[in-house]
Symmetry: C2
Subunit: 343 residues, 2 copies
């Protein structure tokens, strides 16, 4: 049945220097192969576009191997099983996993790299499974709680506050009784995290001084900083941390497209003065506890005290330009590429 | 009795820009005042010269208040009580504390800032009380064990390996069964830490590549890095850390005299890739546990399995130039200024 279908894919054509260019991609069309015994075919519906993708395009050792030249670009996503020769998934199941920037994924149902798992379309709208109930949410939840260890009454600051990870960091911190201050670009995003998500305040880094904003909105200093951006903002926060502060290094989107060396935090000696800690996290380490986080956040969602926002771009062919939205701060909410119908 | 004596002092004349200049100091001579009720007079014998002193000369909030203009320069030291109107100390007692860059300290025996405490000249040679049995030793011991948490078989790297803190870090790590690799400037210092102190290896940063040295001497990567220097060396070590590595930020001597901004660690995203932690320490936090560390290190010293080296410069008037030895890497061992006789 599936051999009558064609698959379209974005493959890595060249390792980008700075911001990815159209010529760094190759768009290919090929017939879809039949699934072998134990394999499934997943029709992609939603693809997750994440800052980390920029890192996967670089050569060299990281927490995950780089995407190879000519390989289909890696992406998390969500789709529907349209053919199955495995007892693990039935046709019609909705699954999430690393299905790549393409219309169809074919492979073993238990493929470790893809890591497919079933999701329930009735428990939450499908895009939520790529947001708070997916990798960004897990990153936020475990990074904040396990590494940040926020206590009620403490001040938590999060950059990229309107983004996928930031939304969840702030709301989980609110649930835990913290004062939450976001940092985001533009009035709309700041209004959103304060008025819709319930942050105590938000600093608009595009229209004012982050240092002044921190002074104003963190009168008791900063106990936990969840950093998604790096660069100047990390340095600004370092000037306001409290004794024994915890800084979670989740990402550094401001630095991913540098053609010059990464800007290290010049104020890192504030860690010494304040006996503070800066620690990196990678979400995969918490895989065996994802269900705990999903259960807790789903409960808050159902109670109406936890919201998320997605920014959905339609069309596989839009992938190259949609990805750039992340680095230009143009997405408003978790950025998702819709490449197929839900039905 | 003490009014017949004069006191000579180095006071801060100006806040240095870059390396301290002779004109940043004022040398003063004044009659020594009589101790009041509850006060003691301490004749200085040894003064501790430490990289941290450069930070105390700057304006602005830090872990300790800055030295004020015209104030006697702060220094830890060791001396003999020559007059006492306090039951806490008797004439003839040897005491250690923040007695300043001067020949005599006069003040309340229980002065919190000076923090005077008695030392036993028979238990160890007096200079050891400013080295392994003093602040550098306490910094090394608690920084390594409490923050670094080294486990037997792990690889510990320490910069400034021949310096006061580095000597102790390496030897404590050896006692705990770790592989220990030092980083120091020059063949003599490297030979010393390997041949005399028992480090497994030492990288001479003045005569070769630190990155290559780390590759060669840390074949299993770096689990704990105790950083005294910052700058390029911190970045080099960050490229070699293992999963869940611990980096102790104790100082950044390479950056203290910068007239440009501090060089932040450009490779700090290695913390993310490796789920590693960078944490600052200040020795004062461990004050209530100093006796534990002193007892353990004194035991090792008596057993002959723990050595320290001091570099003693004679003459109070040498203070300005002796201090610079630290920043030029010219001291070989814990730098001490001898300003009076032991008797």
């Amino acid at each position: 049945m599936t051999t009558t279908l064609t698959n379209q894919q974005f493959r890595l054509a060249a390792r980008p220097v700075g911001m990815p260019k159209p010529t760094d991609w190759k768009f290919t069309t090929e017939p879809l192969r039949e699934p072998a015994e134990g394999e499934v075919v997943v029709k992609a519906i939603y693809l997750s576009l994440d800052p980390a993708m920029r890192g996967w395009m670089n050569e060299g050792k990281s927490y995950i191997r780089p995407v190879m030249i000519d390989e289909v670009m890696r992406a998390g996503g969500l789709g529907k099983v349209v053919a199955s020769r495995s007892p693990k998934f039935a046709v019609g199941d909705y699954v999430s996993g690393a299905i790549g920037v393409q219309n169809y994924w074919v492979g073993p149902a238990d493929d470790k790299t893809a890591g497919l798992y079933k999701v329930d379309p009735k428990a939450a709208p499908l895009p939520k499974y790529l947001n708070a109930l997916g990798m960004p949410g897990m990153t936020a939840y475990f990074g904040l709680l396990d590494v940040g260890q926020p206590k009620a009454g403490e001040t938590v600051v999060v950059s990229g506050a309107a983004g996928a990870v930031g939304q969840t960091v702030g709301q989980v911190a609110r649930q835990k009784g913290c004062r939450v201050v976001g940092i985001a670009g533009g009035k709309d995003k700041c209004d959103f995290v304060v008025n819709e998500l319930g942050f105590d305040a938000c600093i608009d880094y595009k229209n004012g001084s982050v240092r002044e904003g921190l002074k104003q909105h963190c009168p008791k200093g900063v106990d936990v900083y969840f950093d998604n951006v790096g660069g100047e903002i990390l340095d600004d926060v370092l000037t306001r941390i409290n004794m024994k502060a915890r800084i979670i290094i989740c990402g550094a989107i401001s630095q991913y497209n540098n053609t010059t060396p990464v800007k290290g935090p010049a104020n890192y000696l504030s860690l010494l003065v304040n006996r503070a800690r800066m620690e990196g996290i990678v979400v995969f380490d918490y895989a065996d506890r994802y269900p705990v986080a999903v259960a807790e956040m789903a409960k808050w969602m159902q109670a109406g005290s936890f919201k998320t926002r997605e920014d959905i771009v339609e069309g596989l062919e839009k992938f190259p330009e949609a990805l750039l939205m992340l680095f230009e701060g143009k997405n408003f909410g978790k950025l998702i590429l819709k490449v197929g119908d839900e039905a």
